[in-house]
Symmetry: C2
Subunit: 345 residues, 2 copies
Amino acid sequence: MSLKIGIVGATGMVGAEFLDTLERRRFPVGELLVFSSGKTKKSVVFRGRRLDAPAVSIPALCSCDLVFFAGADEISKKLAPQLVQKGVWVIDDSSAFRLDSRVPLVIPEANAKALAREKRLIAGPNCTMTGLAVAAAALQKEGGIKEVRISSYQSVSGAGRDALAEFFGQAQDDACRLKFSASGRAPIFSEKPARFLPGKISGNVIPQVGIFDPAGNSSEEIKVAAELRKVLNAPFLRVSVTAVRVPVVRTHCLAAWIVFRRPFSVQKAARLLKKAPGIKFYKGPSYPTPLSCAGKYPVSVGRLRQGLGKSELCLWVVSDNLLKGAALNSVQIAEELLRRGWLKA
Amino acid sequence: MSLKIGIVGATGMVGAEFLDTLERRRFPVGELLVFSSGKTKKSVVFRGRRLDAPAVSIPALCSCDLVFFAGADEISKKLAPQLVQKGVWVIDDSSAFRLDSRVPLVIPEANAKALAREKRLIAGPNCTMTGLAVAAAALQKEGGIKEVRISSYQSVSGAGRDALAEFFGQAQDDACRLKFSASGRAPIFSEKPARFLPGKISGNVIPQVGIFDPAGNSSEEIKVAAELRKVLNAPFLRVSVTAVRVPVVRTHCLAAWIVFRRPFSVQKAARLLKKAPGIKFYKGPSYPTPLSCAGKYPVSVGRLRQGLGKSELCLWVVSDNLLKGAALNSVQIAEELLRRGWLKA
């Protein structure tokens, strides 16, 4: 257990999942250096011991074998290249390098082959597309994917700690007003401005994740499409996404329609999904939900059906955005580096 | 104001919307007979006066000019044909007759032409497809619709009063537990059994509305597809639906991809939607949400974008399931009968 591991952004919400995941999966951490992402608390607990989380220190980070970044894009942009130059492995969960052609964007179950010994900076993908990429990769070899349409049901934790705290407050305010009107009507709640999301999310759904481009696509929708193409190594894949925030604490869901190059039966797809690594397949009439998948590692896939025609399948994909969509995926990349002997414990 | 109007199911949640809508739209009600759907309260208030709501009485109903049904399928099935035979106009909001080829299924903005003087039994559609049908009808003449893919974000009131009351209780229970864990993790809520929905809906989304057929489609998904074909008079329209319940009190949302027979630009679609009756069009970056549309009459359409290719459009459609999806649509049908002079005030 001689690995020296650093976590930048350890005091944030994803940071807490990193600590939990490293501990639960018995990752061979010899020494752990944790750094605050800034505004939140200044210490964390790992394996029952409290660790100080100071502001980032480049010399300290350079002494690590591997550093996980779980913070803002700007921090990764500034620090990651410096660390890599010093021979440190960097697994970056921000979106800073995901679409950089020199940087592998990796979901181990989908494209571990994108890893390369000389590429010490590795990006983890957007939390919304991770689950679908795992499922699509399991089907891709068999069918060749032509088109993907996705609508998302994204939890509030994907928008960060402040947004989630804001949601908690709204839901607590609403609770006492959840009652029928005197005349028996279902209550009508008003819109309210919010600070950390585009509007009130409690009792609402918001079809905006990020900001819109001139064509009307949100930044999240653009990320999902571009990252899916990169992870599936399918640069001409046609992808259309509608990204929607829902009043759920953690775990993102996707309804997806995948059009293949050839006919693809539900039976064959079910067989492939059942045996695919990292997937929990739900045979109908059972299906996964955010509550049944929160805190769990696998990507859950259910509601598998034929879409419009024999070459199209419908899927319902659920995965914990803070785990498979963030911390777990990064730790899995590190485990793969260990397995290959590129990183030595 | 000489019309004698009956409402069966007046004491339910949709019944309350009927009373409100008839009053707010100054529908020429001379006399109103209200009947309880059974288990709930036994009186209602209309125009400030309390009215008794006894169990249904066929002779009383037969004395009406027009009867609205806002109750269970079985009640409509049993009573509606008898009333029609007596010359009473019946507008049925249950699903009993929607797919009966002898019964017009009507959304006035979409297919008022399906009304016929001799067809006194008229069905109103499923609350989930109503909004989309209004939008699709506005585009159909121009483009010819080939395929529709829909994923829904359906509010709990669509599942009825008991389900909504159950949701209120769950949300109130959850409220005090909405906080970060000691280690800063986003809380993990457990699944819980529920009585009136397939699972706990507070803080969750559930991809099951109704029951599943052997192919894995839910009854709601099948209804939406079949009713959309009927209302759009497009028997060969290819429709794929994923119906999902979300923790919202009222108002359903749909993310839809519509494939047309020919290229259809966003600009042209925006022009058509802007001038279409019954539609409030949101130009980006603004968009409708359940909270901004609850209690409102129009169908709201936003997030209009090109889909995969020039012949496909993406839409985000929001409409109040208890109003345009139920009571309002029925009252609008009655207003159309008045306009045509088939029903005389």
